[in-house]
Amino acid sequence: MSSRRSRSRQSGVPSITDDQISDLVSKLQQLIPEVRSRRSDKVSASKILQETCDYIRSLHREVDGLSDRLSALLASTDNNSAEAAIIRSLLM
């Protein structure tokens, strides 16, 4: 498709090479599990960027979820002060 062929020409900033952009985009592609598995030359930059955004958000959620679990663990062990001290030291 003609538009795909010229994908690399999308950047309007002259100082950045198209190869650079596509290289970065492919790096991103490698990092994102879902996109990586479907690796092909046809994966558009737009899709990769989209996947990146979503992936970052999901990682954020995971981090928050895990943090919350840690906090919940701490809260649940408040009865045992020694334990709580241990876990609090973990969180601080």
Binding site: M1, S2, S3, R7, Q10, V13, S15, I16, Q20, I21, L24, V25, K27, L28, L31, I32, P33, E34, S44, A45, S46, K47, L49, Q50, T52, C53, D54, Y55, I56, R57, S58, L59, H60, R61, E62, V63, D64, G65, L66, S67, D68, R69, L70, S71, A72, L73, L74, A75, S76, T77, N80, A82, E83, A85, I86, I87, S89, L90, L91, M92
Partner: protein
């Protein structure tokens, strides 16, 4: 008989030990659920109330939503609760794996790659149970609890969801959505977002949708920034300030997601599960629809150009110009799409002030890597915390545990302590020091072990003493209960026996470091009263450590610890580098040759406690295996 009990322990604990193993990005399930979420949609120029599933079906046809703006934000917004739900469920499901590596030999060769690789590159996973997920999980927990009580923790509380509800009540944002009851809340949340997004149907209105999302983020950020940040920072604190900084940095956007996660978790019931099940397929179809839209659009463009060519036969220049026009048009649309996505990406990356695309992409890549690491690290922390939390009680019951081989206990403890201490303090040498110290304590016959006393603030050992071994580092003072049947009081007393450490000569590892407890000779006797299958323990430890070979003895494990730590070190340094670039406050960076200062005093007691806890746990396991 002995080792059979270990699997029992496994199974009992399976459902309850959060693990650090495969943390994957939840794969969108393909199962639509009973509850049909009604949405306000902008369709064909009108606001239409539609069920979500209906809408997604419609999207498969060449639709008016030919631009990426809507799907981007819709999928993002809808993905959040579903992902969180699946994520919770998925994390919960991983406990089996974690427990098994703790207690059971795994596939040696592949485990390391699986363990680390999966954490670094979470593979999409399938959420098997999407309907009524929280209740299911709670049930699993409660089911596993009674049998576990018999053997293990009596006091382990249920898994977070109810707690999260309570603790998250304060997370009410200035947003219109304030109620915390299930379906209506989630639905209204979705409706609102759909409305906002859908109102920006055309590409020309694209920036508006992003602005609205940014506004929402800002609202949430201002409203619950502190609370969120505290928790996130707290949760990440094992990675010390790096994690906290990351949480704070990403707090703006993350508040949005956290709140949405809360929203779905607070119902704690079928309502939240109904949505996640729906959203993934909706999102999948949305994405596919979007791709199809792209292709359809491009095909339309080509059709147009073909038509143009047909109509103007013989007028080559006009045909060419028309084709070029069409081409430029599609090209411009592509560019717009991609630019919008770049901007969205830029918003996600904290403190991204790069204006050019290449550096922004660079930053995105680094940030992504660091996020992956962060997840991994927090998972490890969580697993260790949970382990401590789990075993603390039963271990106190298992004071008079049966004799166990100190080789086994040593190995296991070494690995776990190294990992734990390292994750806590980022002090690889420190973790190793713990292992070494314990090995020395147990008479591993390693001469010239440097044992500076951190708590007393004493300087490093004499260069001569330290010359034999690579790492030079301060070490917290601790003592291990070396003999079956020590009482906790003596353990506590040992915590303050710093002067003893100070007085120890380096040449006598078997010296009275454990004099508090028992005659070292008795202690040594206890070493070989074991019935624990050494080989199995060694295998499991080696598999966890990622070594390819099976350790023949405890000494081998000790020798491999640095390698294992090094592996993790590489993984974690990446995150440190990223945050360094972000000019954040770093935890003390780990360098093999540097001698880091003493950790915070408050760390020591907890490390000690973990030490004791681990030992007790090993004993308890051994007891169960008789």
């Amino acid at each position: 008989m002995m080792y059979h009990c270990v699997p029992d322990f496994d199974m009992d604990e399976d459902c309850s030990i959060p693990t650090s193993s495969v943390l994957t990005r939840p794969k969108k399930s393909a199962m639509p659920d009973q509850d049909d979420v009604m949405e306000l949609l902008w369709q064909n120029g009108q606001v239409v109330l539609q069920s979500q599933t209906q809408r997604t079906h419609k999207r498969s046809t060449p639709a008016k939503f030919d631009d990426a703006v809507i799907p981007a934000h819709q999928s993002g917004s809808r993905e959040i609760p579903s992902h969180q739900q699946q994520h919770q469920d998925h994390l919960f499901m991983q406990e089996d794996e974690m427990t098994s590596w703790l207690h059971y030999p795994l596939n040696d060769t592949n485990f390391d790659s699986d363990f680390c690789a999966d954490l670094l590159y979470p593979a999409p996973c399938v959420t098997t149970n999407t309907t009524g997920t929280p209740p299911v999980r709670t049930n699993r927990v409660s089911d596993s609890r009674p049998p576990k009580t018999a053997t293990a923790t009596a006091s382990r509380p249920p898994i977070p969801p109810p707690k999260m509800t309570e603790s998250f009540v304060q997370f009410s944002r200035p947003r219109p959505v304030t109620e915390t009851s299930g379906p209506s809340n989630s639905k209204s949340l979705m409706v609102r977002e759909s409305t906002v997004v859908d109102s920006s149907d055309t590409p020309a209105v694209g920036p508006e949708s992003r602005v609205s999302e940014a506004v929402r983020s800002t609202d949430g950020a201002s409203g619950m920034n502190n609370v969120c940040r505290t928790l996130s920072g707290a949760g990440l604190a094992g990675t010390s300030s790096a994690g906290g900084g990351g949480a704070g940095g990403g707090g703006g956007t993350r508040d949005l997601t956290t709140f949405e996660m809360t929203v779905t978790s607070s119902p704690g019931g079928s309502s939240s599960s109904a949505e996640p099940a729906q959203k993934p397929p909706a999102e999948d179809r949305k994405r596919k629809g979007r791709e199809a839209d792209d292709e359809c659009h491009s095909e339309d463009v080509e059709l147009e150009s073909a038509d143009a060519k047909k109509q103007i036969r013989g007028s080559t220049s006009t045909k060419r110009s028309r084709a070029a026009e069409v081409h430029n048009l599609s090209e411009r649309r592509r560019r717009d799409r991609i630019n919008e996505k770049m901007k969205a990406l830029q918003e996600l990356i904290p403190r991204c002030n790069k204006s050019d695309k290449a550096s922004m992409l660079d930053e995105a890549i680094e940030y992504l890597k660091s996020l992956q690491l962060q997840v991994q690290i927090i998972a490890i922390e969580l697993s260790f915390t949970s382990m401590k939390h789990l075993i603390y009680a039963p271990i106190q019951q298992a004071i008079n545990a049966a004799p166990y081989s100190y080789d086994e206990a040593l190995c296991l403890f070494l690995i776990l302590t190294c990992i734990y201490v390292t994750c806590q303090t980022w002090e690889w040498e420190l973790g190793w020091a713990w292992a070494w110290a314990w090995a020395m304590d147990m008479g591993m016959n390693r001469p010239m072990m440097p044992f500076p006393n951190v708590l007393a603030g004493s300087p490093l050992p004499t260069p001569a003493a330290a010359a034999h071994l690579g790492p030079r580092f301060p070490m917290p003072a601790f003592h291990m209960p070396a003999v079956p049947g020590p009482d906790p009081s003596r353990i506590q007393a040992t915590n303050q026996s710093d002067p003893m450490l100070n007085s120890f000569s380096m040449q006598n590892p078997n010296q009275p470091r454990v004099a508090n407890f028992v005659d070292p000779y008795q202690q040594y006797l206890a070493l070989h009263q074991m019935q624990f299958p050494l080989q199995q323990l060694l295998r499991s430890i080696s598999s966890y450590a990622g070594a390819d070979q099976i350790f023949a003895s405890a000494t081998d494990i000790i020798n491999c610890i640095p390698l294992f730590l090094f592996k993790y070190q590489k993984v974690i340094k990446l995150q440190l580098i990223f945050f360094q670039n972000q000019s954040m406050t770093l935890p003390s960076a780990s360098k093999p040759s540097s001698s880091k200062g003493a950790e915070n005093p408050e760390n020591h007691p907890s490390d000690l406690k973990l030490t004791y806890t681990v030992v007790w746990w090993v004993r308890w396991v051994a007891q169960g295996m008789e």
